[in-house]
Amino acid sequence: MLWVDKYRPKTLDKVTVHDQVAQNLRKLVSEQDCPHLLFYGPSGSGKKTLILALIKQMFGAGAEKVKMENKTWKIDTGTRTLEIELAMLSSAHHVEMNPSDAGFQDRYVVQEVIKEMAKNRPIDAKGKRAFKVLVLNEVDKLSREAQHSLRRTMEKYSASCRLILCCNSSSKVTEAVRSRCLNVRVNAPSEDQIVQVLEIIGKKENLHLPAGFAARIAAQSNRNLRRAILFFETCKVQQYPFASNQVAPPLDWEQYVSEIATDILTEQSPKRLYAVRQKFYELLVNCIPPESILKKLLTELLKKLDADLKHEICHWAAHYALCMQEHKMRLGSKAIFHLEAFVAKFMSIYKEFLVATFG
């Protein structure tokens, strides 16, 4: 078992990083009542851990017996019958799913599947809770129509069902949905907190950590706890006992992107642009999300730029990131155009700058 899973806090009492949030959630559950919840925060901050612990607190150990199933739903839209396949994790008390997996058909998932589940009351009358819980992941990726469809469902079936929504950025969740939930912000743990967690894990695994080792991993992890723990485990596999100056190897795609950045900075020509395109394709076929590539590329470029240029470049990065989004919604995903457009734009600005400064 990976350490990430092994040391995931199973109950609200054991949550160390977000103890304040956990305490509030415990209060929430101790009453019979529980509102709809919306958890938001960057990835690797512990949203899922909190949700799982909360469900366990609500229903006891029964909620831990989950089974995974791939269910096919037949949905009659009047003119044709759609078949949507969805992966669901369910226990006797809760169902967890990822409605945005259905892509552009997510509206039907919300309208039919979720409504169907929300309508049915749990049979277990003896149970403590008269409702069941639906956990929906990545609600920020849901289309606008799907989010609209959620609105009334949340109100109408509130007697028999509670929704727990989970997303990265709450800006992308419509106001109407947000105002129906208790919003829980889960911030990324600070570096000190990450160091603490790593030390606890180290102690439990009987490892000796050299001074400053945990801090280095924490700094490298970008305040992402999951990544920090994975780095930690990688280091352990790589070499133990730890060397005092050991660092976790950077993720290979990140290294690849920084190579691209160096390429762009050394030469600005159509030929180089063509070479860079090959590298982008290499990244994209390996399923690296284009937004992440663009963001990483920007960070790498920003490190080496003149202050005046930085403003300009970050403006264009934001611009092309948006183009990428719009493109995806309208015509399918061809992110490569926008990545390349950004590089071309950068090259032209940078070249102009070089010519102007050095003649």
């Binding site: 960057p42 129509e145 709450s170 800006s171 129906r180 919003n183 970050c314 990065a317």
Partner: protein, 339 residues
């Protein structure tokens, strides 16, 4: 919708007014509808206005008062965005329901007018085609059916539909009305709310009564029966003042890297950027030492960014763009580089 365990019902549902005359702050609508209740004569209606002002409540209340709970099921068709409302449904389900003649069954104590009601909630999320398909249906069956459209944005309802209805604008609730309603709930639930918390609640919910009640219930769950204004702020997701101030301070420093660091921190702390923009705007507008021209430039950028966020842009990049533009505005740097 009968609750199984009354306690687990959200207060928004629990305190939803059941009668038209209880609807707060919408005098014109209430006056027209009370009149309707006596004469049982009703035009097609279009309710529009911001969320949480009582549109759905009013429509449901009038339906209940006209027909009573028993006839309600056969006389009222309620469709909202959680139902499929493509052009197909308009052509079949709605048209079928609209076409059926009304029985003469009457229920003592209710006016039971000789027509049915179709409530189309969240009508602005209907497609244009579906709305077009409704036009003739509305007229043909106007003898036996009345339509209620409910929406947030009237501009998304096509003109031919809007012109067939009596339009009512629901205005955001004023502070006094909101306070009295909140106090009523506090009394019922035996909560302690001091004057400061009350005014904070009115301020953060911006005229949206549903939001105010949701915040109140969340706070009551978390912090028990006496609620202070800081409790309310913590459940509402409003960003603490000093976060916004430190972003502005970072921009004032003129150093791109300082601003970049601040932006990364804000994103890592998980604050919603759209909310941050709104509060950043307030800070910018109320800052005395920034000349008007610079303010205008920043505000323009904020506007553009807000649009980008709605279109699904990446939060980090957008916020960084705003910060960099703010720096450039504050130091009068040109919009594009000239070499």
């Amino acid at each position: 919708m009968a609750p199984l365990v009354p306690m687990s019902q959200p207060w928004v549902e629990k305190y939803r007014p059941r009668q038209v005359k209880d609807v707060a702050h919408q005098e014109e609508v209430v006056r027209v509808l009370t009149n309707t209740l006596q004469t049982a004569d009703l035009p097609h209606m279009l309710f529009y206005g911001p969320p949480g002002t009582g549109k759905t409540t009013t429509a449901l209340a009038i339906a209940y008062q006209l027909y009573g709970p028993e006839l309600y099921k056969s006389r009222v068709l309620e469709l909202n965005a959680s139902d499929d409302r493509g052009i197909n449904v308009v052509r079949t389900k709605i048209k079928d329901f609209a076409a059926v003649a009304v029985g003469t069954a009457r229920k003592a104590g209710y006016p039971c007018p000789p027509y049915k009601m179709i409530i189309l909630d969240e009508a602005d999320s209907m497609t244009e085609d579906a709305q077009n398909a409704l036009r003739r249906t509305m007229e043909t069956y106007s003898k036996v059916t009345r339509f209620f459209f409910i929406c947030n944005y009237i501009s998304r309802i096509i003109e031919p539909l809007a012109s067939r209805c009596a339009k009512f604008r629901f205005k955001p609730l004023s502070e006094e009305v909101m306070s009295s309603r909140i106090m009523h709930i506090c009394n019922e639930e035996s909560l302690n709310l001091d004057a400061q918390a009350l005014s904070t609640l009115s301020a953060i919910s911006q005229g949206d009564l549903r939001r105010a009640i949701t915040y109140l219930q969340s706070a009551a769950r978390l912090f028990g029966s006496s609620i202070s204004s800081s409790d309310l702020i913590s459940v509402s997701g409003v960003i603490p003042e000093d976060v916004v101030k430190s972003l502005l301070a970072a921009c004032r420093s003129g150093e791109f890297d300082v601003a970049n660091k601040e932006v990364s921190n804000i994103i890592a702390d998980g604050y919603p950027v759209s909310q941050l923009m709104a509060q950043f705007l307030d800070v910018i507008v109320s800052a005395d030492d920034i000349p008007d021209e610079q303010k205008a430039r920043i505000c323009k950028k904020l506007g553009e960014t807000d649009k980008c966020l709605v279109d699904g842009a990446d939060e980090y990049l957008q916020l960084l763009d705003v910060a960099s533009e703010t720096i450039r505005a504050l130091f009068d740097m040109p919009q594009t580089l000239v070499f």
